[in-house]
Assembly symmetry: C5
Homo-oligomer: 355 residues x 5
């Protein structure tokens, strides 16, 4: 079951380092390769049948974005990697989807792993690995499956919207990361809605026994989001600070903007974590309050009727000589006494604010 | 509902970086622009109908404060920003009200975002974004709506109170920030009063089921205040430490004073956080104590009357041969026995300190 | 009420920076000024009627200690400050008693704020602000009210006890701070006693409903002490590390001694905090244990007598044909059965360790 | 009992420093020595009867791996250590199995201690100490017992798989550490399964009184794993950063890969810790919920039947004059009243959602 | 009472700094002075009647260890201190037993305070202060009372075991500290046993009301041990890092060994702390479980017998016309009905897993 394995590593124990083995679950994904080759003046978009056709772009002056979907196709990834002189351990990281977001700074290129987050149709959060390699005049991107958040980027490239076509590959990298980070906002928006729904439900007392399980599930979702986002802050911060020749001074400002967004998202996540803990507290309090209410009902019923029953029991005794029994109005007097007792009890509980 | 969205980001997902979109809720606010242009000797105060009229102040020797209310008027903000050579990403930050307090140090100017806090008429806390740009001889300020905490500053400028007219734009910036930070004190004063009211209520046992919801609301208010104030400390600390040529040595002392105030406020906020947690604890304890009391009443009533009822039941049996029934004083003796039992029970519970 | 406002800031919102306004509660305190002027060979002690008489000591070679009580007398403080060239913001800090302990290192003098702690007659902790200014050949001290912890210092100056008369103003500053820090030990001693009294009371089960309120009060006292002492550590540590020409190498050792004492006190405070949390835990446990005991009594009484009452009820029925009723010894046999049941129940509860 | 001593130190109190005393429990382990001596071109594998036979490899150019199992054989270890000029304190550390993972950087060699983790047949986690010494052209490894995780390494050496035969001793060290770290993944996989089993059990309400003991055991397992893995991160990080001439630049990348794996494992462990705490919370909640349910059943039964019993008791009284008793249909009317009461009660509890 | 004062400072408030006042409780301890004077070739051991006899060793080439027991003898300590030129504040620290472990690095000597831990006859932990002064060719040690952990060291000196006689005073200091640290292991071993005993007791349900008090006591013991050991780590780490000419390069390795031991002990202490918190949790859970069980018994008894008693009550009514009463087998049928009800109830509770 997919959910069950969520926190598990999928490392292939005992393998020779540098061997490419896809560790994800989408092992039947079709290979999809597309390229955008552009300068300020033109933009050529292609969908490639084989990886070899993308090799020609390596030494052009134009900026090239090669996007590959389907990490199960390790042969093609290895071919592409070898052509661009990518270190084998990095190729291994690309197809091993249990990576934490990280950055590896090599001489000719920068390697970045991050996580794309979205909710699937069952409202389960999905964390998909995206690897990005920035070279002097190219960006390679690797994704598990076809659906992605890059449509707006494609659109901007095609129609030369914004500044993307006028700047270099480092700006393209920024635009891709920004698209992914932007999507985090909609994920935490949904998370926030879920938490508020719980809160409303708990306050309304409208809770069943499964709520603690649901809260537990929510905690996990937050953990998952946290694991995707928190290490990324460090990644972006290192891009900002590193003096890599691949990143131009002018684009640094844009990366700082991403960093601000990540800080913002992280803060929200921490707030949600704290709110979840409070929810659990409130739930416990509501259980205690309910128990209190149950106990009050029991105590009131018992305290009122047990003494009255005792009195009735007294006059149900069969002693030969019980003087009250013969007295004609005894029965009615007794009723009076019992009603007075009853009302007295009610007053007592009223004063104690149990009613 | 305004309250509901409080912790959410309003980022415009998928937009091109640098596009100006107001993300707040006051989209119908009227544009209001005022300028103060002053030196030691004169002070000219104007309310401007169009933003273009403020452009003339850019190259004067006098200090100019341009205050703009109404972040929904993005066109005017863009025009002003372009005239003063402000970076597009900063203009985007000004109108995107989901910023954390931060400082951006550019060559010609310093950009600062902070939050103005106040309680609205419904006693809900409101956090409004204020952006400040400090240039060589000007300060630009941008606010969401008209009501602000700068009246005392205006007054000092008009009547040359204090040192503000004799010093440069960096001191004006200090005065504006100081006015905002001063207001934090009244906000945490109200927070403190609320907490004490809860405390008194819980100690007096005067609590209803909604108190945990109210405590939760209070926690959120504190979170909100915290989010506004804590990052500001770092901002001020960076002003102190940065050797920006825009801030003179002599005014640094004043910024250190603000820093001290912020530390003071932050400390109080952390104390309030801790007190809130204690409140929750005390509330749980008071619930447990109440349940204890309820249980005691039930136990006392049941323990006293159940045995007595049993005795009465015995002599209500219809056996043909129960010798006691014939004995004349049996009934009275039984009453005696039961009264002794009753008193014995009372003593027992008294000794156990349940009464 | 004094206690209520304890954690609140008293900042004068909206005032011009540098304006001297006393923010404490002792606004009717009489002004008291004393001076000690001494070298190794002589020591002149005076009580001055006006602040102006203290001005003459500024340029002498002897060491001068000017001690001023009564922070409400802002005019005199301002006059003294101006004479000694103290920065206006520092004078503002002296009379604003809501300062955190801090150190400000100026060219000609060092400014230190700290808190004197003591228990008043109602056993409430009082935190009084003391400001100290160390100059080349003088120490100025400012206190809210007359009672202080400096008597031992005065005595040592008068009778040339210890090394104080043979050393410079930096040693005098040390002696004054040491006197205040020494007093912290007696404060935490009292705190420790209070905690132990609670512990004993909770273990003895001798608690009433107000104990959680008292624990809460204790928490606040600890918070107050913490706020006074923890920032002081940093202050002293900065004296040690700063290479101020006003502090001689040889006296640094003495400041390190104060630092050790502060670490010691801080550690105790943290231990007390932890013990307070444990107290709360133990109190909750004791409530649960009591409830358990109550429940056991109820359960034992009910479990024993409800079945017996049922049996009695059976033979109280009025069916025409109940064979047992006619049997002569039935009543006694029934008693036997009931006694056996009773004893069986007792054994059962004994085995369950409920008795 | 082995489990009991788990967290205890086994230090030999009062011994002279540098004396070799094996502190583990496998004091009857047979000595086993094997060597791999290889270059790119050949690989000689031997099992040695005496330690002295391994001495010849010290000054060869080929890379030598000497693996020794059986830490109880201190004489042989001392002999080997002396031959390779290992410091006596390091030899002491090798046989004292209560070490934390650590690295000691000497001039001629690097000493590393780490822990091999696996589950034994009773599903108890076992933490076995492995010591590694890296010299210029050799790696020495010391293990407590024979079973280890190095089989894949042996295989790669024999058949020249991967790059191991073409590189130096620093790569061999990497391969050995990598084999151990790889095994951590399977350990945390089992841990994760255990936690999920508990979670499922608690959610299904399928818990007995021993669950808190089992959770406690699980906590300990996690502690044990944590203690083995967390310090190792620092060890690897120091290998990365230290500029030891024994580790070549090119192999550093591989050590960084191990570091990434360790971060990954550590993160999972911290998540498990948090999940365990949540489990305990959920367990407490489930207890409270059950108690609530028990109380509801009691309250419903008592609240319904106690009043009805009271009514029956009334008409069981023996007053001479109770008018209802003579009325012919009274009995049936009473039944009606009681049924109405019964149904009314049910409705009341239904509305309260207790049913 | 000794135990009560445990966490209190004993500082002599208001005293002149540098005045020697013993603050411990063993004010009647007899003075005991012994010296070991040794080189590689000889070792002279003496017990001295007066402190003055130890003065001669100051300028010899041999290494001298002067051990003084009885901190109440301040005159002798002062005399020794003055002879060896020890700073007065250090002498004050030696006799003030409320010190934290610390190191003071002076030009001619290094001063170290640490705590010797052991369990006394009542199984209370005792923390005794030991001061060590390392000079060029001597070590001075000061202890509160006679019993110590140095016997093994004396033995090694006498019989030239190990390397102690061949090395200098810095190695002697190491040997003394190592002896004390070695003893920490036996202390935490006992602590671990205590915790396990509690655990076993709680799991076995074999707990009385005093367990929370005992857990509290245990917490304090751990705090005490923690306070003795944690600051010592920093002390040893500073010896390692400081480039004091009094400590030779070669002995640094030995100090690192102590450091490793201390890290090991500290880790265990932190684990114990965590286990104690878990114990408290488990205890709370066991209370809740017990209450649950009590409630179940009550609920079962009440739920079964209250309805049955109601039925019996019905047929105990004295209505003139109750048709069932006349029916001959009614009584037996009723028994049947009640038995069916009884068994039905049992099944119901069985299904709910309450039985």
């Amino acid at each position: 079951m997919s959910k069950k394995r969520v926190y598990r590593s999928k490392k292939k124990i005992g393998q020779i380092p540098g061997s490419l083995i896809y560790t994800g679950e989408r092992s039947k994904e079709k290979l999809f390769i597309e390229t955008f080759d552009y300068t300020k003046d033109f933009c050529v978009e292609k969908e490639l049948p084989t990886i070899q056709e993308s090799f020609e772009y390596k030494d052009t002056d134009s900026v090239t974005w090669i996007n590959l979907n389907g990490l199960n196709h390790v042969t093609e990834i290895e071919a592409l990697g070898n052509h661009y002189n990518i270190h084998p351990l990095i190729l291994e990281d690309i197809v091993n989807v249990a990576q934490r977001p990280k950055i590896d700074d090599h001489v000719d290129y920068i390697f970045i792993v991050l996580k794309m987050l979205y909710y699937d149709d069952n409202q389960h959060i999905v964390s998909e690995q995206v690897s990005l390699i920035l070279g002097k005049n190219y960006v390679l991107s690797f994704q598990e499956s076809e659906g992605d958040v890059f449509d707006a980027v494609r659109d901007r490239l095609r129609h030369a919207k914004g500044r993307v076509r006028t700047l270099k590959s480092d700006y393209l990298l920024y635009v891709l990361i920004d698209a992914i980070v932007d999507h985090y906002f909609s994920v935490i928006e949904i998370l926030g809605d879920k938490i508020e729904d719980f809160e409303t439900a708990i306050f309304a007392g409208d809770v069943d026994g499964e709520i603690s399980q649901k809260i537990q599930d929510l905690k996990r979702e937050i953990l998952k989001v946290r694991r995707a986002i928190f290490p990324l802050r460090e990644v972006i911060s290192r891009i900002e600070k590193n003096e890599s020749p691949l990143i131009h001074k002018k684009t640094i400002t844009y990366y700082r903007d991403i960093y601000d967004h990540l800080i913002h998202v992280s803060e929200n996540i921490d707030i949600y974590r704290e709110m979840i803990w409070s929810l659990m507290d409130m739930y416990m309090t509501s259980i205690s309050n309910k128990m209190n209410e149950v106990m009050k009902v029991l105590t009131i019923m018992a305290s009122i009727f047990i003494p009255l029953t005792f009195i009735a029991g007294i006059y149900g005794m069969n002693f030969e000589y019980i003087p009250e029994l013969q007295y004609k109005y005894a029965y009615f007097i007794l009723w009076g006494v019992m009603i007075v007792l009853f009302i007295g009890m009610l007053f007592y509980f009223k004063r104690k604010k149990w009613l």
